[in-house]
Symmetry: C2
Subunit: 175 residues, 2 copies
């Protein structure tokens, strides 16, 4: 976090079987205008408006996806995390990521995104720190992802390694 | 399959919510000795003896893992597949793989193994063909894995690509 300051962690709601407890953490608070403050929250709730998520993904240039499939993917992810900007009564989704997992050894991150307006403020790093913390709390030690070329450096700064011991990420797509 | 001949597919048992139906397929049958035959079966049952799986994994030089965690990983995999050699009343686990998934877009393969005694007969290819077929039946189109250097060529033959469009597999391990 560069200008956002971590404040406190709030206890969460009971979780679905075998999954991490849902929680919400106030990451940062600062003056906004007219004496108002704005807050940034990290959340592990799966209660995500699919239109809002779509807007976030379109903002970084990703392709539109059927909501039915996105809903299914969220339901069946091991961990779903999001970043929220709160100004007064308004709450806006500004970051998202999710992980599939076997709940034991491996997790794989998908759909890691921070809204372009909020990039360059350390929020991506904060998001990743929280994801790693959540997964480590679940005793998962092999955290993997598939990085587009332009974000490889970012993940390397977070401690991710490319091709360790010659291991290669590989993809199969329908012909 | 090189010398094994595909014969028929048997219907499976009802599946857990959202997961593929369990099924068993007779892949091959040939004479053994004393007029007996031997069969090779492909199965998607999760009913795997953990000691037998451990023996298979140790045979290819993998590290021993706590059964508690292996059990949890199998329970929480989207797809679990295995190859069995049947000779009379004896049934032996000779291949295994599993996949994590969000049940919608992505699947990631883990623990793909064929016993060294049965390598070089096309069984790895058969196992992968069946996995891809199962995942495609679930409408999952992005099948991923992390390949050790010595098996990259094998997966390339199966149609897997390394680093497509510069996308890199990345790993985070606890420090």
């Amino acid at each position: 976090m560069t200008f956002w300051k971590s404040l406190f962690a709030a206890p969460g709601t009971p979780a679905a079987a075998g999954r991490p407890r849902e929680k919400e953490i106030l990451l940062a608070e600062k003056p906004y205008r007219n004496g108002e403050t704005q807050q940034i929250y990290f959340s592990t709730s799966r209660d995500i408006d699919l239109y809002e998520l779509e807007e976030l993904c379109l903002a970084v240039g990703w392709a539109r996806r059927p909501h039915r499939k996105v809903r299914k993917a969220i339901e069946n992810s091991f961990l779903v995390v999001s970043l929220w900007l709160e100004r007064g009564a308004q709450r806006r989704l500004i970051g998202f990521a999710r992980a599939t997992s076997d709940h034991a050894f491996n997790a794989t991150l998908w759909d890691v995104v921070v809204h372009p307006e909020f990039q360059g403020q350390g929020l991506g790093k904060t998001l990743m720190d929280q994801i790693i913390r959540e997964l480590r709390q679940q005793d998962i030690s092999n955290i993997t992802l598939f990085a587009d070329p332009q974000v490889i450096g970012f993940y390397q700064q977070m401690g991710f390694l490319t091709d360790p011991e010659g291991i290669k990420g590989m993809f199969w797509y329908p012909r």
